[in-house]
């Protein structure tokens, strides 16, 4: 297992370097724009050429990348081109918002999917089972931005219970968390149900019954434990997907997290912010991918045993 971790981490670092360079290069494809953004900025009387020189835009792209990464890794993230705010400050506040939203959505999707999915499998073909699966089908079929509109129509326009957007009160997180969790919840429900169903048919379940154990212990300890590998394996992928969706969901609900900041920066051509946030989110995705791989191996004691030997 230790070897696997080392190899997978090294590979992740390689991917990180490649991806960050691609993002960096991509964002520099339109450097004219950047300089023009600055030149048009009301506070500055700078010329486009002067800005290019200041930012080192006339040096080879590899050198620029090296400089940028050195600064980034030493924590010197620079300032926003548009507002002049330090990027580290933007990062600090928005990261905590995204973390709150993503963790809540993740817990919501896993925390609801495991008990509901397992129960649906145990009470197979019951009304409860069919109802749960109907929710799953709906959750998977409706694009999240449309679900957001439907929820706003229901909870804000019709019922007046929840605010339409913003971040000021605890109520503000409810709709974005629901929308962010919906697809993951739907997928998890199906995976948990089919995995539990498969485990329930296994021989060891009969042994457990013959041992005189309670149904509760059989389902929630033994069967659930054996049903988890596919769910855990999926959890890594879920984190990554959730991260992607934060861009849309945060923007819809004007939730001031990383995704909202990135989309805004891109729309305002605030390229220093956009570049840094894009590289950090890319890094997060690559790290989640590596974690997902490792989780998948760890979740299964059979492969864990072999890898440890």
């Amino acid at each position: 297992m230790a070897r696997t971790i080392v190899y997978r981490s090294l590979y992740a670092v390689l991917l990180l370097i490649a991806a960050s360079f691609l993002v960096f290069y991509g964002m520099r494809l339109a450097p004219g724009d950047v300089a023009e953004v600055l030149a048009s900025h009301p506070t500055g009387q700078m010329t486009v050429e002067r800005i290019r020189e200041d930012l080192g835009l006339n040096r080879p792209v590899f050198v620029q990348y090296g400089t940028y990464m050195r600064e980034l890794l030493s924590g010197n993230l620079g300032v926003s081109l548009v507002t002049g705010e330090p990027i580290s400050e933007i990062l600090r506040t928005s990261a905590s918002y995204t973390l709150r939203l993503a963790v809540l959505a993740f817990l919501l999707s896993i925390g609801l999917a495991i008990p509901l999915g397992a129960l649906a499998a145990w009470k197979r073909n019951s009304l409860f089972d069919q109802g749960t699966m109907l929710i799953a089908v709906i959750g998977m079929g409706i694009p999240n931005f449309f679900l957001a509109v439907l929820l706003i129509q229901l909870f804000t326009v019709r019922l007046g219970w929840l605010p339409v957007a913003g971040y000021e009160t605890p109520k503000h997180i409810i709709m974005p968390a629901l929308v962010l969790a919906a697809e993951a919840l739907a997928i998890n429900l199906r995976v948990v149900r089919s995995s539990v169903l498969e485990e329930l048919g296994r021989d060891y379940v009969r042994t457990l019954k013959a041992k005189g154990l309670s149904n509760r212990r059989i389902l929630w300890l033994h069967v659930l434990r054996n049903s988890l590998p596919p769910v855990i394996a999926l959890a890594g992928i879920m984190m990554r997907t959730l991260l992607g969706y934060t861009l849309i969901v945060e923007t819809i609900f004007r939730w001031p997290g990383l995704g909202y900041q990135l989309v805004n920066a891109v729309l305002k051509r605030d390229y220093t912010v956009a570049q840094t946030l894009a590289i950090l989110l890319t890094a997060a995705v690559i790290i989640f991918n590596a974690l997902a791989d490792l989780l998948q191996q760890w979740a299964d004691p059979r492969t864990r045993g072999k890898a440890g030997a």
Partner: protein, 339 residues
């Protein structure tokens, strides 16, 4: 379904009340059109300290009989008739909770597949101790101690350290010993062993059978041994019931049945046993197939495959009749066994 048949209750003749009495047990499987009886009016009894074998081909209802005793039959099946008296209590009338307190505690079961019958995600120690915790109030340390003793008793070396191993770290034979350990750790009165040796290779088979015989001797255990292998029955069982198409067709002491098998089906089974037919070039095979549950003939169920068939066989259903002491069979035209 055939008409109700009174069936002889043939016991070991020991005089004392048997530990387990199965009386006219009917277990039905829900079909699309109608229910079919997978176990059809089966009666037998197991005395204290006795090893009772049930033999038959796969699908004859022997496993369903075993599962019915512990009420572990699949969801699409149900016990629809008869009684299962265990130590004087009818198990078919108990609620689920009372039934749970018997399973693994007073009646245990060992299954055929040692590879898959254990939970792969928990150590064998956990799997044994949870039986102890389910049925008694003991400390963790004490449960662990008892689990280790049991593994040691069943011939697993370094038992205490092996408690922390996972099932996949054991060989097939060792796994079956683990299965038996968790079946026997509560010191049950009855062990139901469903094809306990079928998945093992020959030398391991012999070891496990020796172990069962030894436990019976030392612990006074009663054993209900389900198998398709007459050799296994011959080796360790005291009495045997031969099942065919959901019914008992012959029942009696093992020596009598082997020395003088009366039912043509039992005779066929004996003929098809490899080590008794050394003289023949080819293994004997009973012609034809077991009738389907849905299309059970109204006469003798074995008639279509029987070499002794006479006209009445296809017209009337034979009863189980005692033709010598403690030996009964279900046949209109028994003939002496010719090898």
């Amino acid at each position: 379904m055939t008409a109700m048949v009174p069936t002889a209750d043939i016991d070991s003749g020991s005089g004392t009340a048997p530990l387990l009495q199965v009386r006219d047990l009917v277990t039905s499987i829900k079909g699309r059109k109608s229910d079919v009886a997978a176990v059809d009016h089966v009666s037998f009894s197991v005395s204290r300290g006795e090893i009772f074998g049930v033999v038959g081909e796969s699908g004859c209802g022997k496993s369903m009989t075993a599962l019915s005793i512990l009420r572990l039959i699949p969801v699409n099946a149900a016990i629809t008739g008869g009684a299962i008296l265990f130590d004087g209590v009818d198990l078919t009338t108990l609620n689920e909770r009372a039934m749970r307190s018997i399973r693994g505690n007073r009646i245990s079961m060992v299954f055929q597949e040692p590879m898959t019958a254990l939970d792969p995600s928990f150590t064998v120690g956990t799997q044994i101790t949870e039986v102890i915790h389910a049925h008694s109030n003991v400390s963790k340390a004490e449960a662990r101690e008892r689990a280790a003793q049991m593994l040691d008793r069943l011939g697993i070396t370094n038992a205490a350290s092996r408690l922390d191993s996972y099932p996949h770290q054991f060989s097939g034979g060792m796994r079956q010993r683990v299965m038996m350990a968790l079946a026997l750790v509560m010191n049950p009165q009855l062990l139901i062993a469903d094809e306990p040796t079928t998945a093992l290779d020959v030398t391991i088979q012999a070891q496990i059978l020796d172990l069962i015989a030894e436990l019976r001797r030392d612990m006074g255990l009663s054993v209900l041994l389900i198998t398709h292998n007459l050799g296994v029955v011959h080796e360790i069982a005291d009495r045997v019931a031969v099942m065919y198409a959901g019914e008992v067709v012959e029942i009696g002491p093992v020596q009598q049945i082997f020395a003088n098998p009366q039912h043509p089906y039992t005779q066929g089974l004996l003929r098809s046993m490899p080590y008794l037919t050394d003289r023949q070039d080819r293994l004997y095979v009973i012609p034809g197939r077991v009738p389907e549950l849905r299309a059970m003939p109204s006469g003798c169920r074995f008639a279509a495959r029987c070499r002794n068939r006479i006209p009445i066989c296809t017209q009337r259903h034979p009863q189980l009749v005692e033709n010598e002491p403690r030996h009964a069979l279900r046949c209109f035209n028994p003939t002496p066994y010719v090898d």
